[in-house]
């Protein structure tokens, strides 16, 4: 099996060395030939593409299959096999697949995985495919690049605004959604004072999937225009802004407004607590509107920008997550795979998909259909337009591990075992070894 490793290194070397288009084509053939003799991809019968993603389970039942069958109707020589599983399972399978060069042709990607997969040579350079297909990349809202090459195209973007349970806040005597940190603390205290199991805010810090650091902690930083990195991409965790963010989270914890069980709470639990009216406010993905309404039709809630520092007046960074798409390096049908990518990014399809998912289109020219979607979606779009998308974890190597080490230190702070300064210094140290 070491042969597999050697082949991989060889391919990686070539990936770095080869720049011209002609050589890239040759390389692709060699790369595939390594595992099981290449078959010429364009000749003869229909081609079957495997497409692994976690999107279908999150969309209204059957709607993603419908979009894909429209694609295959337009392209009779291409068949698409959807491999659908929830996010965590998809990730586990892609990591195993990347390690043994058996990724499906087209893969759904999270910005946080891109750097590692690209480094392993598991996903292919899309810049090359775009130029081969004479694709107009200017219509793309964003591209995720590693060392100047595009490896992922965000198909749909989801922002993470503050979700506010209007009934709970009204009951607690808070009339408008908080806009500053002081207002938020105040509102959270009042909601927590309602008693019972109700708390003001939920903070999922489970270390198994430490996304809470990105969505629920760093979002406070970004909302005030802060950054956790220096200009040249080095960690900058000891800056006053990061410190004030962590101190603020600590003050929320000290005030007892965070729902119990935070240290092992998962994202699902956070949504669950909001849906069942156990917390007044959460920072959550817009994608969850449908889910919350389905599980709790009577919940009266709205979305608002994440509160910023009291004195902050600039544009607010809004954390986002993407459904990204990439193509496997080992795919024998890269041209066909790119056709599928093009289809999903096309003005019409991209608009449809965004509307279905309550996300924002990855194609700049696509307009989501607000008439068919939830009114909250329009509210969120307005918030989005006033701010800017911010997620500094996208494209970082080992981003999950970065979040985890931050998470572990934050847990020490929240349990009173460490000071904020010590925690940030230690995190800075461990991040520095990676970045």
């Amino acid at each position: 099996m070491t042969a597999g490793g050697a082949g991989l290194q060889g391919r990686l070397k070539r990936l770095l060395a080869v720049t011209t288009a002609a050589a890239m084509v040759g390389f692709a053939a060699v790369g595939c030939g390594g595992s099981s003799g290449d078959s010429s991809s364009t000749s003869g019968g229909p081609v079957t593409l495997e497409f692994a993603q976690w999107w279908a389970p999150e969309l209204p039942a059957g709607s993603f299959d419908k979009l894909i069958s429209d694609f295959t109707a337009q392209n009779p020589n291409i068949k698409v096999k959807l491999l659908s599983a929830p996010y965590a399972s998809t990730k586990q399978q892609l990591v195993s697949g990347a390690a043994s060069r058996t990724l499906p042709d087209v893969v759904g990607l999270d910005g946080a995985w891109v750097s590692d997969f690209a480094k392993q040579g598991a996903i292919t350079d899309l810049s090359k495919l775009m130029s081969d297909a004479k694709y107009d990349a200017s219509q793309l809202a964003s591209q995720v690049q590693v060392k100047g090459k595009t490896y992922m195209i965000p198909v749909v973007n989801f922002v993470y605004p503050l979700f506010v349970n209007k009934d709970l806040l009204t009951k607690a005597g808070v009339t408008t959604a908080p806009s500053t940190r002081t207002q938020f603390l105040d509102a959270a205290k009042k909601v927590s004072a309602l008693g019972g199991n109700v708390k003001g805010w939920a903070l999922p810090l489970d270390t198994a999937v430490p996304n809470g650091i990105q969505n629920d902690v760093m979002s406070w930083l970004w909302a005030s225009g802060g950054s956790m990195l220096t200009q040249d991409g080095k960690p900058n965790l000891t800056s006053p802004q990061v410190k004030s963010t962590v101190e603020y989270v600590k003050s929320l914890n000290d005030a007892g407004v965070i729902a119990p069980g935070a240290l092992t709470m998962k994202e699902q639990d956070k949504v669950e607590k909001f849906t069942t009216g156990q917390v007044g406010m959460v920072i959550d993905s817009l994608a969850h509107i449908n889910l919350i309404k389905k599980n709790s039709p009577k919940l009266n809630f709205t979305v608002a920008p994440v509160p910023a520092e009291d004195s902050y007046t600039g544009k607010r960074g809004i954390p986002y997550a993407s459904w990204g798409i990439g193509i496997a390096e080992s795919s024998k049908h890269k041209a066909e795979a790119f056709k599928l990518v093009q289809y999903l990014m096309s003005q019409q399809t991209n608009a449809q998909l965004s509307t279905l998912a309550n996300g924002f289109p990855g194609n700049k020219t696509a307009e989501p259909d607000f008439s068919k979607s939830d009114p909250l979606f329009k509210t969120a779009f307005d918030i989005y337009k006033k701010g800017y998308p911010a997620n500094e974890f996208v494209g970082l190597p080992k981003s999950e591990e970065l979040m985890r080490s931050f998470d572990e230190q934050l847990q020490l702070v929240l349990t009173g075992k460490q000071s904020v300064d010590d925690a940030l210094n230690k995190t800075q140290e461990s991040w520095s070894s990676v970045l």
Partner: protein, 280 residues
């Protein structure tokens, strides 16, 4: 005499009380599981908690049983678990016969190696194993999953079967061999039929392990038409929400085959008591 009777009664009541406490420990979580499967998702965290809620319904069961893809998980689990059981029994019977009836060089080492294999933490093997299964062309196939589960169930199955064969007197198979039959015939005509109770125990153990196995079933399959029940249950725990009632309903449904197997296993064993008598 009276005091003795009374003491007997006291002991009986004590044992019954102990059994009930133990049963509460064992059974209450399952009761809660059952109760959750009849709730709507909104009622799961209702305060105060209720065992039976006002929206009591069989919807979750209907959704599971009405969905072709969910039923496919059950079919897959049956195919895999039954094949694993059959294959494990076959291979284990042969190996156990070798260990029990022969003496040969390296016997101790081979046995020790087989025992050690079950000491290998499966989690550590996932990555190389994945590569191996892909290289063998068994990724996302039944044979891939069946062989994998078999390798993990085999060591203990061999240990159990060998132990059972060791309890059976050698005179039994020797008597057939005297008549000119081969060791092969002696194994299948004599040893296996009287070992049925022991083999059922091995089979049930194997079936349960395979039916409930999670890590490799997740890693070695990629499409829904190959996935098994534990993965199907996990698929109901999306990134964003738990379909509590369906998870519980599917777990309850998934446990039924195992429960039925256990019930049959108990009954069949009474029939096999005679072979237990051989031991005594």
């Amino acid at each position: 005499m009276l005091t003795r009777k009374r003491r007997r009664l006291g002991v009986k009541i004590g044992v019954l009380a102990g059994l009930c406490i133990g049963a509460a420990f064992a059974g209450l979580p399952v009761v809660w599981m059952l109760s959750t499967s009849f709730k709507t998702n909104g009622e799961v965290f209702q305060v105060p908690p209720r065992l039976i809620t006002k929206n009591f319904s069989f919807d979750a069961y209907r959704q599971i049983l009405g969905s072709a893809s969910q039923l496919r998980f059950f079919l897959n689990s049956y195919i895999v678990a039954l094949s694993v059981t059959a294959l494990t029994l076959l291979v284990a019977i042969l190996a156990a016969y070798g260990f029990s009836r022969y003496n040969f060089p390296l016997k101790k080492s081979i046995n020790a190696a087989i025992v050690s294999v079950q000491a290998v933490p499966p989690i550590t093997l996932v990555i190389p194993y994945f590569g191996l299964v892909v290289a063998l062309g068994l990724y996302n196939t039944y044979p891939g999953l069946i062989l994998t589960h078999t390798v993990f169930t085999l060591p203990y199955a061999i240990i159990m079967t060998t132990a059972y064969f060791n309890t059976l007197p050698r005179e039994l198979d020797e008597s057939v061999k005297v008549d000119g039959a081969s060791s092969w015939t002696a194994l299948w005509r004599i040893l296996v039929p009287i070992s049925v109770p022991g083999l059922i125990a091995v089979g049930v153990y194997t079936f349960m392990i395979s039916w409930n196995e999670y890590l490799f079933a997740l890693t070695l399959t990629r499409t829904d038409d190959m996935r098994t029940v534990p993965i199907g249950i996990q698929l109901l725990m999306g990134q964003h929400s738990y379909e509590w009632n369906q998870i519980m309903a599917m777990s309850i449904l998934g446990s039924i085959p195992v429960l039925v197997l256990f019930l049959i296993f108990q009954r069949r064993f009474i029939g096999g008591l005679t072979s237990g008598a051989v031991k005594a």
